[in-house]
């Protein structure tokens, strides 16, 4: 029966076609993506991580409490692949140029809900307010950053520049809401606590950050942050504390980004340049966690390239907007880990610095002013190959 042989031939042709492709597509290697858990979680912790991951992807609708005014409808839409965000979800905060606390809370501050459900008007910036735009940061490795001890942070601080290196980082101190548990190793000053998350380090910990984000980014109230962002009235919780805790746990246990090609001599050279010209004075290569309630995060060394401190970044980056004790020109050193993978979550492009204005890593370096001016100048005087090595190194993070 010749037909049967035709059949066999066709099947073989098919097979050729298949073998040319990834028949069962593999994922990218772990060092090519930002998501994934820290190693060593227990099974119970993995279950909670999965729940948090699912909650992180939840798209809210009218019925589940979205808005009525909001920035976006899900966590994931700002942090695709757990990476940095896109100008589309860049948010705006408004306030005032002094450090006496936000004067516009009764007018819907600090955050602008620039979108709304049909039939509702989105918020607009009130007259007289200053504002800054914040691009969503990557989520990875946040658990490590959360458990760096206050003592370690203070050890890196040098508010009066006692060592005369022009770098005078200091922590952001602020009052924290009652629903937050103080860290056992907290070192408060005048009832104010060291804050560490966010562009201006205005969030105390990931619970603070998450409860705020649900409330201010999506208009989702919780029993922690129960004031509706639209009506400014206290309303029923729209998510449970359980779900909020799951998301916090998810953020805490997302793995730290993994550096690629660490043995490449160009990259090793780039790291040397990074240290030589002074980048590492703020973008500290290595930190360690203190005691953490999650075992695998306890007393671990890691490489975030940040000191979690505020630095004067110069007038070019001064938006006239303050949070807690951070001045208008002060920004928290952003961790550089995961930098090389940023464009995979920003639609193939770069949107760097706090508001995404830098369209490449080099552009970002060149925007450094204030305390970083000296280092930026040094960068400019590097040879092309040194510059290339530095950029290659940064891209490997």
């Amino acid at each position: 029966m010749t037909k049967f042989s035709v059949f066999i031939a066709i099947v073989l042709t098919f097979w050729c076609f298949f073998s040319c492709k990834e028949i069962l597509p593999k994922g990218l290697d772990d060092d090519q993506i930002l998501d994934g858990t820290v190693e060593g979680l227990t099974e119970a912790e993995l279950i909670q991580f999965e729940r948090g991951d699912e909650a992180f992807r939840e798209v809210f609708v009218k019925e589940t409490g979205l808005g009525p005014s909001f920035v976006t409808a899900s966590c994931i839409s700002c942090h695709a692949g757990d990476g940095k965000g896109h100008p589309f979800t860049t948010l705006t905060r408004f306030g005032q140029p002094d450090e006496l606390g936000n004067q516009f809370m009764h007018l819907g501050g600090p955050q602008l809900q620039n979108r709304s459900l049909p039939g509702y008007e989105p918020e607009i910036i009130p007259l007289g307010a200053t504002f800054a735009k914040f691009t969503p940061p990557a989520n990875t490795g946040l658990g490590y950053l959360e458990y760096v001890s206050d003592a370690d942070i203070l050890a890196m601080a040098d508010p009066n520049d006692d060592d005369k290196d022009n770098i005078s980082g200091e922590p952001n101190y602020g009052h924290i809401p009652d629903y937050l548990t103080k860290k056992p190793d907290a070192i408060p000053k005048n009832d104010k606590y060291i804050l560490r998350f966010g562009k201006k380090a205005a969030a105390y910990n990931l619970l603070h950050q998450t409860a705020n984000a649900y409330n201010q980014d999506m208009g989702i109230t919780s029993s922690y942050e129960s004031i509706d962002a639209f009506t400014l009235k206290e309303i029923e919780p729209e998510i449970t504390v359980n779900k909020l805790n799951d998301v916090v746990f998810y953020l805490e246990t997302l793995k730290a980004p993994i550096q690629r090609n660490t043995n490449d001599p160009i990259i090793q050279n780039g790291l040397m340049v990074f240290k030589e010209i002074g980048c590492e004075k703020c973008h500290k290569q290595t930190l360690k966690t203190g005691k953490a309630p999650i075992d695998v995060l306890s007393e671990k060394e890691f490489h975030p390239y940040t000191d979690l401190l505020l630095h004067d970044m110069g007038s070019g980056l001064d938006d006239g907007y303050t949070e807690a004790s951070a001045k208008t020109y002060e920004w928290r050193t952003p961790p550089l880990w995961g930098l090389g993978l940023s464009s995979d979550s920003q639609g193939g492009a770069y949107y760097l610095m706090h508001d995404g204005r830098a369209r490449s890593i080099e552009a970002a370096i060149l925007l450094h002013g204030g305390e970083a001016l000296f280092t930026k100048t040094k960068y400019e005087s590097l040879s092309e190959s040194e510059k290339a090595a530095l950029i290659t190194f940064l891209n490997s993070l």
């Binding site: 037909k3 597509p25 994922g27 798209v59 609708v61 695709a80 896109h86 589309f88 709304s116 039939g119």
Partner: protein
Amino acid sequence: MKYTLVIFLLGLCSFLNGQASSQSSATLLIDSSMLYLNSDAMYRRPFMGNNNLPVSIGGYMDANTSYGATNGSKTGIGFAMPDLTLFLSTRINKRASFLTEVAYASVTGKVQLRHAAIDARLHRLINVRTGLILNPIGAFNQNHDAPNYDFVDRPIAATTIIPAIFSNVGVGLFGKTGNSNWVLGYEAYLTNGFNDKIIDNTLGRTCLQEGVSSFENFSGKPMFTGKIALRNRYAGELGVSYLSGVYTEHDAPTTGKVAVLAVDYSGKFLRNRLLIKGEIAKVSVDIPTTYIQTYGNQQMGGFVDIIGTIAQTSIWGFDHARINIGVRLEYADYNQSKFEETQGIIFEHSRAVVPCISFRPNTKSVIKFNYKYQEQVDFLGNPPLKTGSFQLGFSSYF
């Protein structure tokens, strides 16, 4: 509810071979020597009459299993039965007939009505259809039976750009004219339409399917669906269809416009050994400017199936069994807008290629073996989600 179905279904069982005598059954309790009372009404319904016209019952089943991986995470093997439907049709009189399609929604456990309408003929060109109507937008929605396709999955665009199965209560006209080589047909219906779940849904993108509101119309404005189709004996059938309506929130003044334009084609060549079938649809939805841009106001998608018969032979007692190979190419772009902030395009699209081999013992049944490779790109255009899977399916009318 349980009892309902058990009793009902048990009852229906006896139907199986009871057609021989058209002599009606239960009327023995109605004593025709006496006058009828109101309480006899239930026994005097027309269906019990002696001269009741025949009823036809049928349906189809579709079951499959698949194995694959998405970006390295493997799915195990599972079995699914996406479709189990029942048809019932009956002639009401010489000018009217009733047809219904009921599907068992395996996930919710509910019975879902897909179509239930009475067609009445006034003239070859003027037929009235009323009831729950399958809206003629594209071709797949009206011709969705799994045994007609050599692919395990329904086309992406024909289910996520155009809703499927998409039916609404309403009324309209249809008709056709032609000769043995040419035929021209039309359909035009006014029906219920959409609610605001089109944009208020947990998918995070505009989706007509989510907003289908078949049995209620909050807007007070009927939706229009119309189609014109032209067929030539040799060149195949070309259809152009259009939908125009609004979507609305319950109890709210807010409404937005919805429009869909679709073009479909199907043709058979080489003495029915080559089948080409496809459709393309463009959706426009009014989205409030203050809403999230991930809910796009323009969508577009389509698919093309190319199927060739490579063997037609006698196997296992089936005289006209066929072996087909083919491929489906499909694409769906859920958001054709640009970001306001960057003027960059919004991606949010999906594309797939699906080679297939199928065995059709007869025209009623098909065993399908597919490989499906699909890429999904998020709205920012980040590296895609790649899925490859082997699918084995069986669909059959009964």
